[in-house]
């Protein structure tokens, strides 16, 4: 009788400990978390410092102004482009020798082949 009781107690304690141990593996977090957050990203972005010219990045020199006026014309390349010629006339159609062609639809890769 006592043996049976001890057996049952050990079983119950063991099962309880096991369920506690297993449930510890499961996270307790609920919710969507911080994924895509459009408003946060937008608030990072601002054009304010373009207009006001605040010295917040001191180490950086001013950006040079681009040269005024139109850019100079591009030089002519030393090797001239070949003139457009009509394509060389094709040889007349001949009957083609029979050639083995690959199968039209191949089975996709990474797929276990069926039993043969």
């Amino acid at each position: 009788m006592t043996r049976k009781l001890i057996k049952r107690a050990v079983l119950a304690l063991g099962l309880g400990a096991a369920s506690l141990t297993l449930s510890a593996c499961d996270g307790v977090t609920v919710g969507v978390g911080y994924g895509y957050d459009p408003f946060y990203d937008s608030m990072l972005w601002n054009d304010y410092y373009h207009d006001v010219n605040v010295d917040i990045d001191i180490d950086r020199p001013d950006r040079p102004r681009p040269p005024d006026g139109r850019p100079p014309a591009r030089p002519v390349p030393p090797i001239a482009k070949p003139p457009n010629r009509p394509p060389v006339s094709r040889p007349p159609n001949r009957p083609r020798p029979p050639v083995a062609r690959p199968p039209v639809a191949r089975p996709p890769i990474h797929r276990p082949a069926g039993r043969r």
Binding site: F39, Y40, M43, L44, N46, Y48, Y49, D51, I56, D57
Partner: protein, 185 residues
């Protein structure tokens, strides 16, 4: 529904200096270079994203620019309400803050329409509140942008956003955050 939100926000704005409902319970301090600027409380079951000073670059212009810490708040299980705080460097007065807001609102909402501005006090400090509506990702949004004049030549910019269809209870949470705002200088 939208009109109800606007009126609810407007009514609550009038009570910002008084205490809101006590649903904002976790105090948070905004610091810049180790200096505490202001604090506010995060409502229960809201998530806080702290961020930090960093530099971002426009890939088209190749123009890096510094960005101050942005703190974002939103309900943990919902993205229909959002609130952000930033204290930009070099923005010293409310007028500068309004210009700063003009330069970020085009990124926050599309086609913004201002429905009202008011001058008030938040946390005992002079503040300017701009309310309006706009679009974001094909959903209408209500926004409330606030510039709060902090001592020592700084401002706090706070933007609260409610998307259409958001739970009206978020208005109370947002106002509780404003009610908990305190300067720390």
């Amino acid at each position: 529904m939208r009109i109800q939100f606007i009126s609810a926000l407007a009514i609550c704005v009038a009570f910002w200096t008084g205490g809101g409902p006590a649903s904002a319970d976790t105090p948070v301090t905004y610091t810049d270079n180790g200096r505490a600027l202001f604090s506010f409380s995060v409502p229960d079951f809201w998530a806080l994203r702290t961020g930090g000073p960093r530099e971002i670059e426009d890939t088209e212009l190749g123009d890096p620019r510094a960005v101050a810490r942005v703190m974002g708040l939103r309900p943990v299980t919902d993205d229909s309400a959002w609130m952000g705080f930033v204290s930009p460097v070099g923005v010293a007065s409310i007028d500068d803050g309004l210009r700063y807001l003009q330069d970020i609102d085009k990124f926050l909402v599309k086609d913004p329409t201002v429905t009202g501005t008011s001058t008030t006090r938040i946390g005992g400090l002079p503040a300017r509140v701009i309310r309006g509506t706009g679009m974001r990702e094909r959903r209408g949004v209500n926004f409330t942008a606030t510039v709060i004049d902090l001592p020592n030549g700084r401002v706090a910019v706070a933007v609260a956003i409610l998307r259409d269809g958001a739970d009206p209870a978020y208005v109370d949470d947002l106002n509780a955050v404003f009610a908990s705002f305190r300067s720390l200088q």
